[in-house]
Symmetry: C2
Subunit: 201 residues, 2 copies
Amino acid sequence: MAPAPPLLVVISGPSGVGKDAAIAELKKLALPWHFAVTATTRPPRPGEQDGVDYRFLDADTFHKMRERDQFLECAEVYGRWYGVPRSQVREAFQAGKDVILKIDVQGAETVRQLAPEALFIFIVPASFAELAHRLGRRDTETPEEADMRLQVAREELSQVSRYDYRVVNREDCLQQAVEEIEAIIVAEKCRVVPRVVQLFY
Amino acid sequence: MAPAPPLLVVISGPSGVGKDAAIAELKKLALPWHFAVTATTRPPRPGEQDGVDYRFLDADTFHKMRERDQFLECAEVYGRWYGVPRSQVREAFQAGKDVILKIDVQGAETVRQLAPEALFIFIVPASFAELAHRLGRRDTETPEEADMRLQVAREELSQVSRYDYRVVNREDCLQQAVEEIEAIIVAEKCRVVPRVVQLFY
């Protein structure tokens, strides 16, 4: 029996829902997945490492790559650019590895157009109040930035119906969300009719 | 957010593939699932307990229930009758519990007609040779019975395309199959568009 073809797993959700934390835990599972490293023009936050959390690029380099169509998708969010290099997805797929893409809702929509057979997972908070609480306390932002994020998050949450799976990230219960994401990927590898992501690069 | 509706999980596969062993391991997980106990007119095998492994009924009692339409599905296999009492599924669903049905391929087909929104999992061997090996050594059967099972198993295996998920039960690797079945159920509870089993009783 042939092994299941590699999956393109899109993990998205509103700002502040805990996507980064979930990804950090998923990495600890040491499964044979490739975690795509997004390129960005935003400066690193404290503790973030180049090539691990993000690929930090200057605007000039980023836009040269953009002109050469070297991103699977890229977008401007809050005045900063983010993009997923095509080369990463291509190389991981050629090695037979599933690719995990952590991406915002806007980016997920672009990937959905390019690769509708990708697997779309949406992380939601247990309640909007919980999300608002988390957004309010992120200390790297101004209150205006937090307000804008909250409004955007509300719109983003309404997009859940465009996803295959919804995972609830309850306050202090990240581990359950991580286990559910792992279960979804394990389950999808068992599908009788596999998702075959067409080569879009 | 409302909890996901209860699932009707059909676990099937060819004779000898290890359905019983997989179910025994799933029960140890102590998750809030109801394992349907199939009623049968066949005599208990050594170690089997009435009401746990099967509900052992005499032919008269079984056929009275059958006449009253009290089985979700029932069928004659190798001269013995097997049936899933409707009452069990109804009561578990009313309690909000997922129901796990271990059932042969013929029975799964009947359930598919009644409840196409059920979740269908097919256990397969790593190879046909492995299955033949297992069937050959079941010491409660005559060689003729084993031969008949082998032929039936080959036909049953060809039905995999009618299922949602395929789980490989590799020799000496039952635990992986069990983990995959658990993952499938966990994942299905996260579906944005849930399977809603219509009440067919």
